[in-house]
């Protein structure tokens, strides 16, 4: 698993068509033991990278979805207070022994970050949309990502059993700290080019022929060039391809009506919909060879 070509092939086998640069990034990730920070527009397949990576390594994917107000107790660990209180009620008596008992592994609830460093086989840890978390959490994460150990006051320090493969994603709704950025390898995920998008469609949608996939990819590339507020991502392309295949379209030129009517898979705001009129969709379709 050292060479980037091997990695690209392994990713392709698991259904993710990577470009050469991403394969390099993943090989570096293993060599340098650094987390990988993926940035890019919504819907370009950032989260999919982590999923594909997990299936390449045949390991577990542990996902931490970030949101505003995410804190240590939902990201790292939490004591099971209910059980602790029950235990106290059950054995009234020697306070010391009860304390030792209730602050033990048995009463510890693992959250994603703790779970990720306690697996025997290194899992893939996906920290999704890190830009949604607060600054404070980001600083805490930075510490965890450099030491890979967690200190729990009642239990002591827990060292990582194995170092997980860490993938962070960001949509750029907030500027991340320089420290975190420096710690990570950086990869900007762009919309795939026509050829790669066609390969993605073929890999993901059963029954999409090569020529249809290429037509769809070209059409989507044309639509992305229009001044839209919400540019369709790869997920939308796949939806649309699935819709067309489901409606038994073999060639886009045969069914301009259906093409226009199914564009709702791609164009998702009122404003954009008003912009992509029938004339516009026919013009773009006309350019698709």
């Amino acid at each position: 698993m050292k060479d980037r070509d091997d990695i690209a092939q392994a990713l392709a086998a698991s259904g993710y068509i990577a470009d050469a640069e991403l394969a390099t990034a993943i090989s570096l990730m293993q060599r340098l033991r650094r987390p990988l920070l993926l940035e890019g527009e919504a819907g370009v397949g950032k989260t999919e990278v982590a999923k594909a990576l997990a299936s390449v390594h045949a390991t577990e994917l542990i996902r931490l979805q970030c949101y505003e107000g995410l804190d240590q107790s939902s990201a790292l660990y939490e004591w099971n207070y209910q059980r602790q209180l029950l235990a106290i009620q059950a054995h009234r008596g020697d306070a010391d022994s009860i304390e030792d008992q209730i602050f033990s592994e048995k009463y510890l609830l693992e959250r994603p970050l703790l779970a990720a460093i306690r697996r025997d086989k290194p899992p893939v840890l996906l920290i999704d949309e890190i830009d949604r978390a607060d600054d404070e959490f980001e600083a805490f994460l930075l510490e965890l990502l450099s030491d890979f150990q967690v200190s729990i006051p009642e239990l002591g320090t827990i060292k990582a059993v194995s170092i997980p493969h860490v993938v962070l994603t960001s949509n750029g709704t907030r500027e991340l700290s320089d420290a975190l950025r420096r710690r990570c390898l950086y990869h900007y995920v762009d919309y795939p080019d026509v050829e790669r998008e066609a390969r993605i469609i073929m890999a993901r949608i059963d029954g999409a022929s090569a020529s249809l996939s290429l037509q769809i990819a070209r059409m989507v590339a044309g639509i992305r060039k229009e001044e839209l507020r919400k540019v369709p991502g790869v997920a939308e392309t796949l939806d649309w391809a699935a819709a067309l295949v489901g409606l038994d379209v073999r060639d886009l030129h045969d069914a301009p009506e259906i093409v226009h009517e199914t564009l709702m898979c791609l164009v998702k705001t009122q404003e954009d919909k008003a912009r992509v009129t029938r004339e516009v969709s026919e013009r773009i379709l006309g350019k698709v060879a």
Partner: protein, 401 residues
């Protein structure tokens, strides 16, 4: 290639000749000059990569270094150019090569660096750096001091009287600085407020009835605190052309420094420009914006622009702690009644409307234009903004919100 994951041994490090590591250091300096945040750890990793055989394949090395050294999109985009210029001696943009870096161009291979690599390295580094725009880090201490003291005098000069490019540049710098200061004050207020969370007894007891009243799951109370969001609507019409560039610079600073901010330009129609403004490199952002700002020179339709804003953007960008800042002279060429109506709708939505009018400070100016007359009843703060000083006078007002 050595096995992955192992740290390079000292013998391996020796293989990377002294020259290469010096050249590598020079490359890192080039990157830092261009605004990359490169630390010691990255340097070590880079050296270990070169020792591991990446150095033999420039394409692979470039891709690897790109991931390692870049930290944001703007870095990502300019990295290839910098790398090619430095290691392969290719020219970047239209900048001409200086005499000694041309030498490097003649023997571009990574292995053939017999000559004094450091000297030519650092020379070519500064010579070929493609952007002169993001000067703040790059500029020496002397220049900055000078700028600060002159900015003092500048603060009272009306923007339209700024003549030579140097003064304009300083005004831009000061506007950016100002945006930065405003951000810091505002965030400090947020932090102080965050401390006050207490137990919410009512909800705690209610939730724990099922446990027989033993408080098992506690409910805490914390003031939900949203940072102030600043939404700037800038009039880019012909009558404002004297002021547009300084305000663009100010907006760029605001977007960069505020955690939440959105920017719009309008003349005869409205354009959402936050995306273009997010460009880290100020010069390039301004270039992109000036293109947007050059609308049809046919007057200003403030009312219609506001209508577009209310219709399409307001629901998304305005929340309860939003301030809308309109920068315009209020010369409405469209329907003044429409402007009044739309201002009313906007006022219902947001917390405050600040209207900055650069003309207000002109002698003998009175808000006679129909547009401004219709709009004023809905405006919370109507202030002049023709000098840096008047801009900074806004900060305490915003901080109170």
């Amino acid at each position: 290639m050595s096995c992955c994951g192992t740290n390079p041994s000292f013998e391996e490090m020796d293989e990377v000749s002294r020259l290469v590591s010096r050249k590598l250091a020079a490359f890192q300096r080039t990157l830092r000059d261009n605004g990359f945040a490169v630390g010691l750890a990255e340097g070590q990793d880079a050296a270990s990569l070169m020792a591991a055989g990446y150095a033999a394949k420039p394409g692979l090395l470039r891709s690897a270094f790109k991931h390692l050294f870049s930290a944001r999109k703007s870095d990502w985009e300019k990295f290839d150019g910098l790398f090619d210029a430095f290691w392969l001696g290719r020219r970047v943009r239209s900048r001409s090569l200086a005499a000694d870096s041309a030498k490097a161009a003649n023997n571009p291979s990574l292995k053939s660096m017999q000559d004094d690599a450091q000297q030519s390295g650092s020379q070519s580094a500064t010579d070929q750096a493609p952007s002169a725009d993001d000067a703040p880090q790059g500029r020496g201490g002397e220049g900055r001091m000078e700028g600060a003291s002159r900015a003092e005098n500048l603060s009272e000069v009306d923007f339209r009287k700024l003549a030579d490019p140097e003064q304009v540049a300083q005004a831009h710098e000061a506007a950016a600085q100002l945006a930065r200061i405003m951000r810091t004050r505002l965030t400090r207020r947020d932090l102080a407020r965050r401390r006050g969370y207490r137990l919410d007894l009512r909800r705690t007891i209610h939730r724990n009835i099922s446990h027989g009243g033993v408080p098992i799951s506690l409910v805490k109370r914390q003031r939900k605190d949203k940072p102030l969001r600043l939404i700037v609507l800038l009039d880019a019409s012909g009558s404002m052309s004297m002021y547009t560039s300084v305000f663009l610079r100010f907006i760029h600073g605001v977007l960069d420094e505020f955690r939440e901010a959105e920017a719009f330009l309008f003349h005869t129609r409205l354009a959402h420009v936050s995306g273009a403004m997010k460009e880290k490199d100020a010069g390039r952002a301004l270039d992109r914006l000036s293109l947007l700002a050059q609308g049809a020179g046919g007057g200003t339709k403030i009312g219609e622009s506001l209508q577009t804003f209310n219709r399409w953007h307001a629901a998304r960008v305005i929340h309860s702690r939003s301030v809308v800042m309109i920068v315009s002279d209020g010369y409405e060429t469209g329907d003044a009644a429409l402007l009044g109506r739309e201002m009313g709708r906007l006022a219902k939505r947001c917390r405050r409307i600040v209207w900055l009018n650069p003309m207000m400070a002109w002698e003998g100016y009175a808000p006679e234009a129909r547009g401004i007359k219709a709009a004023l009843p809905h405006v919370d703060l109507y202030a002049p903004a023709n000098t840096l000083k008047s801009l900074s006078a806004l900060e305490p007002y915003l901080a109170r919100l």
